[in-house]
Symmetry: C2
Subunit: 480 residues, 2 copies
Amino acid sequence: MSEQSVTAQSEDFSRWYNEIVYRADLAAPSPVRGCVIIKPYGYEIWEGIKAGLDRRFKATGHQNAYFPLFIPESYIRREAQHVEGFSPELAVVTHAGGKELEEPLVVRPTSETVIGEAFSDWIQSYRDLPLLINQWANVVRWELRTRPFLRTAEFLWQEGHTAHATHDEAERETLQMLDIYADFAVNDAAIPVIKGEKSKMERFAGALRTYTIEAMMRDRRALQSGTSHNLGQNFAKAFDIRYLAESNTQEYCWTTSWGLSTRMVGAVVMAHGDDKGLRLPPKLAPYQVVIVPIFKNDSQRGAVMEAVERLQSALEDAGIRVHIDKRDGQSPGFKFNDWEMRGVPVRMEIGPRDVEKNNAVLARRDVLGRQGKQFVSQDGIVEAVQSLLTDIQRSMLEDAREFRDAHITDAASYDELRSIVADGDWARVFWDGDDDDEVSVKDETGATIRCFPFNQPSGQGKCVVSGRTTERVALFAKAY
Amino acid sequence: MSEQSVTAQSEDFSRWYNEIVYRADLAAPSPVRGCVIIKPYGYEIWEGIKAGLDRRFKATGHQNAYFPLFIPESYIRREAQHVEGFSPELAVVTHAGGKELEEPLVVRPTSETVIGEAFSDWIQSYRDLPLLINQWANVVRWELRTRPFLRTAEFLWQEGHTAHATHDEAERETLQMLDIYADFAVNDAAIPVIKGEKSKMERFAGALRTYTIEAMMRDRRALQSGTSHNLGQNFAKAFDIRYLAESNTQEYCWTTSWGLSTRMVGAVVMAHGDDKGLRLPPKLAPYQVVIVPIFKNDSQRGAVMEAVERLQSALEDAGIRVHIDKRDGQSPGFKFNDWEMRGVPVRMEIGPRDVEKNNAVLARRDVLGRQGKQFVSQDGIVEAVQSLLTDIQRSMLEDAREFRDAHITDAASYDELRSIVADGDWARVFWDGDDDDEVSVKDETGATIRCFPFNQPSGQGKCVVSGRTTERVALFAKAY
């Protein structure tokens, strides 16, 4: 909120990010290692994300429930890959109510185990399937290197957990939820994510297949923004989730899980922000319009505020989220900078001359300077603002899509891959390597397979590492 | 969900409660001591509670934020009464990321300390006040005796935390939030709570004054359903929350906190339920109307389902929450019982004859049997259902109010108090006793001071214990 300028993205993107997060008032440092406080402005973005997803989950038949924060340590150990994946990151309660616990309790890093145990109780017959549950919750993973929203020891998320009678139905669910994530990212967050499958190495611990949406940030790094897992029968076998089939036999269920977290707030910051601060897509912006009244004396103030409040009412009645910046003792210029920092999509300025002429000035956050300014009549303000918000939403998505497409390049050889990735771009390559190959590429270039995108080219090519002919391309990039 | 009848309230209320909670599918047992799983049907009631409160909080200028789950142990110790109040109930993380922590982390039992520390950073001058924050979160208190919703080791709640420039402003906030709780309880939950002040002994650990809403359950026990605390300057001093006043001096803030939890779900169960199961007030019912289609063969099915789906659409378009019970292989009678157990306010039955006559049967959950049934024309279904829901909401509140008022009796002497309480009612008495007197009444009768109600009689009387003349009455009751 100070008037100092921020570090330029081109100078130090990582520093830019940290400065923006704190100065746009999204988060504040906390006294607990690796945790941040999500401040109201950041939390409202999260509330927008929650509302957008929750609506889509419910429309597809999912119901919310709540499971315990604590998981008996023995549960985590029941699925072999799962315990291996999560053990290094667990926070453990050993004492409670003044006594040492007989069995330590793990603070949930994710809830497959405790929900698996519940499902084994709840599911008796095919009539109980599919079981479609979602949970909004906090989880804890004791990460060594943390960054606000992107990776914190505690974070907020939703985790979906479903059980099905067949593999195919579970697979359809897994893909449906990935589509919902992508639909939300594209249409609400204006982030043109790429849908694809994770490599074996990057799979969720215990999953048959993991699907992902990958987003390109403004520094061209990839951010995994949501994942959906087909868990096969692994958890069903570990937790004895069985059903009586119509054929009167006992069968193991097929389960899925899928999650999206407060990381998405970081994605919005890094996919859209510029050197002036945040740029928020209208659908997720806590305030879609900020009104800055401009006056020099009390008589001007009266006339200006009358107009401002009238316009606010009109906009709010139309369902637009409006804030009037009434702060005394701050210049309009300070306020303009401050709201640019906070990324409000539309700024409305109203001064005495605007009142006289029955006008208002609308300024777009996504197009700074004169080009983004227009004078509109107060009479048609609702329509003008609505159409501007629609255009900003569309235009931000288009910008991000152009940026993304300009920075994904086909590489025909490992040398090309290396050079593309060294430049910071994403490389698309034919890939038929094994785990070891993937590890060496990572060690040598810093890039990982973000996904095998669903959108595959037709035709074949040679794997850039093994030289084997394959039909499958992978996207390599450095990632958060 | 089975057809066995439940234990009668009159026989064993506590057993009735546990049976209802599980059989109406509000909750399920969990593998973690003292924790339950909140199942979708119970969670939807909580979502209704959240929505009703959140709307009221935002309308009065509060913003949501999120603070860390973990609190450094040393923070809890900073406010002397606070640590004494909460120490016996703390769950403590001693290990994380495979190592022993240098300082153990307490799982928050409430967040005054960590939020107090944040406020001391965020507040610089009088311009930053008032600061009005709310958090929706899970908290953990390691209670010895737990019951679903009423007292669990982990529970969900909201905790409001505000800072103000003056005592009076903090007091107004404290009372405003109590009014909001009462407004929600009365108008949404149909529970006629009594607002009042807690005695010194029952105050929040570290508060100057604690206000409460007290509800009477169907066994006549009291349930403290929400509390609002004026914290004075105690936390401001412990966490150095100061502001630069307009007079250019540094002053300590005055803070408040207020909370309402998933306990309210238990309140709804116990304030309204009967021997048939839940009775949900329409405003909080996940389904306001359940439609049970009745047919004997496929040709009837076609005609009935056509009508049922048409009526469902009409009701949903009007914003009414409707569920059609399409379960095959269950008799209408089974379904009627099942939805009575789950407390759906209105049941609609449609059979072939109703289709012919363009009728539907509406049955009220709050008035069982013929008296609560009516035939209505399908043409005016939306208006009929809307007016029925309004009437049920009103009538449930009225019932609960009559029940409450019939079971609060003035006691002129300690003997009378003792006998009223022994009968299970609440006793209203003039009270000017001290802490020791309060303890002896509790030891002798099992009753505690629920509150000094805001609604005080005019005039004076003699304290039933000390014999001193006083103007103040207290409500004594056995409580959850």
